[in-house]
Amino acid sequence: MPLFKNGATLPANLSGSLGRSVLDVLQELGGIFLFFVRGFVSIFRYPFQITRSVRQLFFIGAKSVFLIAVVGLFTGMVLSLQGYYSLAKFGSEGVLGGVVALSLIRELGPVLTAIMITARAGSAMSAEIGIMRITEQVDALFTMGVDPVRYLVSPRIVAAIISFPLLTALFDAIGILGGYITGVGLLKINSGIFLAQMDYLVILQDSVNGFYKSLAFGLLVVTICCYQGFYVHTREGGHGAKGVSLATTTAVVYSCVGVLIADYVLTSILM
């Protein structure tokens, strides 16, 4: 006996809705990818958005320095504490410097930096573009013959390409400093051993991998956040201010989840 009004049985309905959901997700992902390609290609179109790119660099990069420094410092310190506790069980406290540095450079630096920038700048990007969309400012650009993607998205992509790796490097450096302060200053590990192990365990490829990751995360975050704001008017279940608030929330959630998934994929590839 059919369970649903349309005569379909439970498995048929489930597979139908599952199929629709998968198609929706694929469509969304395709849309985001094409949006990124459009924004990236527009970087090289005249007139170049130099002033706007510098402004975005200041907003995404310079204004995030303090936040990244604080988060990096405490991440390094707690990593050092936890690392010492674990390593002490095997009598290997000496490699703490290397463990802290490797964890930060290969993994925590790019991931936490991306998540912190998402929270601070990504949400603002999404809200700003979303408000511009609902107040017809994006349409106004279009009617003036100005490509809204080139004007709004390309400078943010440029800023992300420059600022994410730099901020990640800052995070790593201050994190290692935090680890050093805890390890050497509090836990009394020999300073020379701490630095020597770091020098011995960390190779250039680790830093290069971390750089690739930060670059990828930057492009991912900025694309998702701009996309959510840019298409705020097409989303169901929220218009106007409510739509912008939903877009901002979605942008942050998708960016964070996206960063973690991308981290796994990139780690598998770069390992």
């Binding site: 107040t135 017809e136 400012q137 106004a140 009617t143």
Partner: protein, 408 residues
Amino acid sequence: MRTPLIEFRKVSKRFGDKVVLDRVDLSIYAGEVTTLIGRSGEGKSVTLKLIIGLIRPDSGDILYRGKSISLMNRAERERFRREVSFMFQSNALFDSLTVRENIALPLREGSKAKESTIRERVDHKMHVMDLVGTEDKYPSQISGGMQKRVALARAIVTDPDTVLFDEPTTGLDPVRKNSVLGMITSNQRDYGFTAVLVSHDVPDVFYISNRIVVLEQGRVIFQGAPQDLEQRDHPVLQEYVSSQEILRNEIYGLQSAKWLERTFSKLREDPEKRDAFLVMISLPEYHIIKEQMGHLMVDMMLGSMAKIFYRVSKSGDACKVARYREDRIVCLCEPDAWNEEPDEVLRGVALEFDSMDFCSAGMRERQAVFSVRGGWDRIGSELSLSQLVQEIERKEMLLGSVSCRSGG
């Protein structure tokens, strides 16, 4: 035959279930001011957005200089954007840019002009739009009228060939409204500029427009010269032509001619309502009253008569009074609207007219008496409204008079 600059061919657009434009054919000619008028929600702004490409038609084609906009290649589309500018109803100013930056944006982003040239042109437009002193303010720091003028300055700063104005005068004071309309006219005269306006400023826009397009229920019901619009005997078109009179009618509780036409048709189709009747009251000396005492006095007289009809009917909904032509009102009544026969009611109403004095103190010395005529008939099922009115006109009688008495 002239080739239109912009042409709609069977263009349809719907949003959900709502059909906004239904197979619309429309022509806009170069060097003319074309004004789109119609009620709110009739698709006027949608028409402008379809032209500029912000939305796409569901079916049909839009041509610019004879070329389909949807088939334009990149270079042609860029040229089209340079030639056509748009002013939004909501202004759509960039709220994080100053007034000067807002006006300069189309030049900075869309041209290779030098900064000094941009500055000069922006200053000129700001001067023309009376915006001097607001250069460094943000849109949120200036009034709604000023925001409108900034939007207008931004739309014309590139000296486009064609400008689409979506309600350019809404929210402006009368002096500035006239200056905006004057600016559109002078640009059109001096530079051969083509303007497409959406406006509710009827009849003001008739004076500046070469062409009027009336949209009603998703269709273009008129396109042509304003003079032709005034001569068309179409109830909806007449509503626009005499929109100020309609406002006055509403103040005096009178329905429109269009409403009368609609209600009459409905009653005629209902077998139970064919015994309903139509009573007509006219002022034969209408033009003399208007000339001597002004149109407001005529409106007041007809309005007072309407009130009497409302008062003597059994319930407020049993009778409705409409202004049929400028000199007469028509009362459409349910079959059992009154306890007495219509002839007796008309005589009673006429007696009340006799006892009224419409003169103000300044008019006492004029001492005038004006006749009131009237008649009635059942609506039946055969005659149209105009035929029935002619029938009543043939047998209408002198009911009494309205007067302006000395020392009254």
